[in-house]
Symmetry: C2
Subunit: 333 residues, 2 copies
Amino acid sequence: MGVTIKEIAKLAGVSPSTVSRALTDAHYVDLETAERVKTIAKQLGYRPNALARGLVQRKSMAIGLIIPEIENPFYSEIVSGVERIATQRGYGVVVISGHSANGEQEVRALLGRQVDGIIHAGVYRTDTALPNLRAEGVPVVLLGRKLPGFMSDCVVANDRDASVQLTTYLIQLGHTRIAYIFGKNVSSGSTEKLAGYKEALEAAGIPVHPELVEHGDLEFHGGHRAAQKLLALNPPPTAILAGNDFMALGAREAILEAGLRIPEDISLAGFDDILFSSMKGIELTTAAVPRSKMGQLGAELLIKKIEQPDAEQIEQIILEARIVRRNSCGPAR
Amino acid sequence: MGVTIKEIAKLAGVSPSTVSRALTDAHYVDLETAERVKTIAKQLGYRPNALARGLVQRKSMAIGLIIPEIENPFYSEIVSGVERIATQRGYGVVVISGHSANGEQEVRALLGRQVDGIIHAGVYRTDTALPNLRAEGVPVVLLGRKLPGFMSDCVVANDRDASVQLTTYLIQLGHTRIAYIFGKNVSSGSTEKLAGYKEALEAAGIPVHPELVEHGDLEFHGGHRAAQKLLALNPPPTAILAGNDFMALGAREAILEAGLRIPEDISLAGFDDILFSSMKGIELTTAAVPRSKMGQLGAELLIKKIEQPDAEQIEQIILEARIVRRNSCGPAR
DNA sequence: CTGTTAGCGCTTTCAT
DNA sequence: ATGAAAGCGCTAACAG
């Protein structure tokens, strides 16, 4: 077992309460005894028991982080950002990859662990857990998404605007038959991007063909499949915009497998700017979303909400995406 | 505040202990009262307080996971595997990306949170925390690495053998001037791979030129830099083996930037088989390490050690890597 | 089968 | 400035 405050108290010839005060330097303690206590604590290798402390203070100094899949660079960088800030501020991060239908399980698990707040970047069909969470008074920050009908603190990218920019760029290159690989209904980012795509098309007076919109499920293989379907169209699109780089990369595979060249035969663009999008031979045009930054801001916002529960106003931080033009887009044939 | 066991007890007309028993169904409880208690608990939305439970049981049902950088797909997939199994078994995962010099900080933070065990995939210059950990009696599983002079349960890939295979393959293709991009001294995997590289070379009667071994620090940019140096050699190598795919991909950039072709002018291989290594246009020959599997096995092993502290023997699980031949290696010119 | 008692390690009034 | 006492929510003997 670990060293307890009691043992230190005995050795220092003081009461446990004094040791507690000396170690947390909260209250008035004689400087000399405080020093003595600290020295003994260090000698003994004392480590405060976070469980005990959390129990009495009703504060675990832990935050929960819910994400759909950590293998996805988009999310792993978010985790990285969250983790950095949290650690820096003394909070632990309990990570849960969510796969339940509505997020209830994940939230319950986290709440059971008495986390002080939750950063929610999960994607669920119907998110029933969030409103309950609100009722419980647990601070929540939504990351990378908004939930329709649920006002909440959040950190999101300006997906719609990025989508408008990307689509407009494609139109300027002379494309009119532009396909869109949609992510998921449940992801607000996907919806926003689709809206941006349509908005840009309409602004240019180009009709929106439903057949040009395919589902890709945000995954590499989804993008692959979607592109295959799109290429089978008659006539096929001359440009494809995918809801994230993962799907774009999947689409890229399908395009190359079909013996087509990028961008000579078909233009391709995505969202996120993951590391591999910049690699030689890939060079995907995309919208760069500052993922790590999102995580950091999310953590900072959550901790602020935790430590200042009085502040009533909701904060929504919107990060602008930056369009990165590489070699995957060219003039329409 | 959440619902407590006391309130349930009052409503059910029984004592808190009975509630506790009914809910954890550990001991003999009248079936009828048990049902009544459970119903009330559900109605009230009772959620056991893990802090309180952990305090008395001296078991937090949480494990710590230390990794160098979660953005790296190698590690993020390990996290994924660990997380899956842990969640499945009722454990929470506290993730820490370690950046301290010796891992002390990370371990302290985790121990303070009373984790029941630690999965350690960190990479430190001098790892002073581990031996102390052993002394504390906290179960530890090393993941992807061994620590010299520290026998421990671990899950590792057979790096040396994979390296021998890869190097031998290159030799069979006619290469004799094979460069190696080394990872980090502190990573046992790196050392093992270097040893395998040398072993294969010597077995073929090819001298090992120190100038052909460069440090790449396990990072993309390190691989890039290392390859630049290697290409400046006179004569340059005809093949480059990198300690991981990240560095190999970095090297790939440098090679292409130098106007050379892969594999016509120079062959390239790596380790890990991350998703992007398989992509069209990249098609990197590599040794596939089952990362998610490693994480899963690591978690299973740790939980076993946690739940059966009596079992004294040390288990070392060694996973064979699978060589994946793609198009980045060709015959020597 | 169930209630009472005690206590996990720590913080926090309330006295002194 | 410090100690005594109480209690956070829960479980674990120990009686009964």
